[in-house]
Symmetry: C2
């Protein structure tokens, strides 16, 4: 397919059409455009224009557009719609998307909006979903699924399924439950196509079915679904009843968000921000980490102040502090990133002790190679072998300590139930800067005998 | 489901059973274990043990295990199997997974393995897939799909489909082609369930179908599928013929790999390595970036050497170099990470000029806040207002420049068709260290009038 590209010309044309209220032209222009692309357009329009567009187009399309636009755009549009109009949009959506939108509505209008939803079953399902923590399998799941009773035969099953399938966009598996709604197993559409109509479901279903508990964390659900290559997974409650279904498209979003969060954390950005957010939002996400760096820098300055006496004889030592600090930071970030990624993928095997020993060996190997290069360079540059030696020995020590901290801290945080990704960015750089400089000057002092 | 946990006890038990050749016990123990979990076990076994396990279990399970184990484990196991045994495993796999494995086999045995595959159609499909670049939609797609001719009626269609579906694990969409195999549209299973059997496909199919070209990059396919919430997408060749299908589970892997690559790049790790790789592999991935940092540090030392004359009167300036370098690095990484992520998600709007102006304003805001704090602190600490002022003004300037570089470099690389993620880690930190220190001492020199 030719990918959709939002050009300035297209945007200008749409704004022009809205201004002149050329409804027929607008509809014709957007007829063939996918809702995800119209959402991109809506993100660029102002509040009135976006609302105009939503009111103009059919609600089966606009409801999907609403789920795709940025949160602030959605909030603005919804504030311009009546409760009845919002209810119409919700009526078109799957329960999970509808519940997400209801969750964002101002408290005082929720009741009214829900009461305006025509399909009462749909409204009940949405209300059910509101009870679950956003950060759990219950918060991710939808109520739309196809389920059959184990006591039915294939014919009844096909009839019931046709009715249920009307409300389900994508049928992945047919879930089999007992009379108490407890999940017993599954059937594939394929099996159903190839089995005699009088067979009882009880005799053909597959009892080996994967499921997650309603309280499971989204990251865990994502791990399970991607490890076992599942496209949908049923969700059961504390007594084993089938309460919903999570599909892979929601999990793709979870995986992307997790990855982005870890990436931002490693880069010293503490909230989920995008390049297009306001300067104020971006500052709030970035300034705390920079402040941490400032405190670390002041700490480093204070340590160097303590070694001021060395400056007259060995000024060169002070020239190499940025190098020592940078190496400590780099090694720390490398070590911690590997550990954080291993933890995220659940593929760290063996004990913490072995892990640390391996990292120490690795740091030693890297440290010795780099120190040898630095030794030769400094020696030739300044001609003072002892100073060059002091700097090089310090470099090895600093790399060893940085590797240790970078490995140990995320493992420790993980053990304590804290997200180890926090240990990757400025946090590890800053602490390694301080430790690095302290070790550097201490060793230099010993080697040079000052 | 209770997640599978690979314990040391389980591993010891399995090794014991293998050693004593207790085949029945082994089979019973692993009967209910998912292939992805057995792959985890195989990763921990030695070559002989893993091979033993693969030879013991049924090939419908072992073929899936082979696709899931680490590449080096797979290579070791396959080297112990005969061409006939390998062919049997390939016969059980979907064509995309089979082609991936064939691609890893030693050149000299490929021909023989292929000739041993019993299902000749399957063998032909695998050979077809080998032609495509690994890093393209063609390299990701499988030949398994369900397609019907637009001239058939629903009844023929259902009959044909039953036959085709035997070979397709998951039927997502039924693709409609013309007599020349060109993709015309799609049908959903649901539509088929609810349409009269004499209707012609031509009259019911949906012509609005998403597709990708066989040469499309995997990242682009991932973007399209996740943006449009697709679970499968057909792949067409240069003349519009339907040649394969990509499913969401493969795309989940692409998304995860992309995220991991960017994350590692930001952390200064240049190859795709895992915590459990050898020290040598890890060193090769990490040492080049550390060497870059070393060169940067030496550059910084040389710059400071050029300002050595200032050291006697204003030693304190030298104490703050790690702070300046750290702030330059942090701001650079923050700016570049935001841009890299925006580029990856395709949500950077507006011109490069506006982007730079915004980052400059952001840097100015952060810089002024941090500089004010630093000014007060340094002034009280050392009592020299002019020195404190020099350091603070430099900090603002350094943050501005770092923000500019961090924003500009990834945008520039992207324009040039180079992966901007390369600009995030040590690359930006190192260059910002050097620029930062140069700017710092230059400004200090002017302010202090030395």
């Amino acid at each position: 397919m030719t990918p959709f590209k939002l050009t300035d010309e297209l945007l200008a044309e749409i704004e022009q059409l809205i201004e002149n209220q050329k409804n027929a032209d607008l509809k014709a222009l957007l007829e063939e455009v996918h809702y995800a692309d119209i959402a991109e357009i809506a993100n660029e329009l102002d509040e009135e224009e976006a609302t105009y567009l939503i009111k103009l187009l059919d609600s089966d399309k606009t409801s999907d557009i609403l789920t795709e636009v940025d949160e602030d755009v959605r909030e603005a549009i919804l504030s311009n719609l009546s409760s009845k109009e919002i209810a119409e949009e919700l009526g078109e959506l799957d329960t999970d998307d509808a519940a997400d939108i209801v969750g964002e509505l101002p408290k005082e209008i929720v009741q009214e909006v829900i009461s305006e939803i025509e399909d009462r079953e749909h409204a009940k399902d949405i209300v059910d979903l509101l009870r679950y923590d956003e950060n759990s399998a219950g918060g991710l799941m939808a109520k739309e699924l196809v389920k059959v009773n184990e006591n039915w035969n294939v014919l009844t099953c096909v009839k019931e399924m046709r009715a249920q399938a009307e409300n389900v966009t994508r049928v992945h598996s047919i879930y089999v439950v007992d009379n108490e709604e407890r999940l017993k197993g599954r059937l594939s559409l394929k099996d159903l196509l190839t089995t005699s109509t009088t067979t009882h479901i009880k005799d053909v279903y597959i009892s080996n079915v994967d499921w997650v508990n309603v309280n499971e964390k989204p990251e865990e659900v994502a791990k399970i679904m991607s490890k076992y290559d599942l496209e949908a997974i049923p969700v059961i409650d504390e007594v084993g009843r089938l309460v919903g279904r999570i599909t892979i498209d929601d999990i793709v979003d979870v995986i992307k968000e997790e990855a982005e969060k870890d990436y931002q954390m490693a880069a010293g950005i503490s909230q989920d921000v995008e390049a297009d957010d306001s300067i104020w939002d971006l500052t709030r996400a970035r300034l705390p980490w920079l402040f941490l760096g400032l405190v670390g820098g002041v700490g480093a300055a204070a340590i160097m102040g303590g070694f001021e006496a060395m400056i007259s004889k060995h000024a060169i030592l002070f020239f190499f502090t940025p190098l020592i600090a940078a190496m400590a930071g780099n090694v720390g970030v490398q070590s911690s990133a590997i550990i954080v990624q291993g933890l995220a993928n659940d593929d760290l095997k063996g004990s913490v002790g072995n892990r640390l020993i391996k990292e120490m060996l690795l740091a030693l190997l890297n440290g010795v190679i780099l120190a040898a290069i630095l030794l030769l360079f400094t020696w030739f540059w300044k001609g003072e072998f002892l100073v060059a030696l002091a700097i090089s020995i310090s470099l090895i020590a600093v790399i060893l300590v940085a590797g240790f901290i970078g490995t140990f801290i995320p493992l420790f945080l993980h053990k304590r139930g804290i997200d180890p990704a926090i240990a990757t960015g400025p946090f590890i750089t800053t602490s390694n800067d301080i430790f690095g400089i302290l070790i550097y000057f201490s060793i230099a002092k010993i080697v040079l005998g000052i």
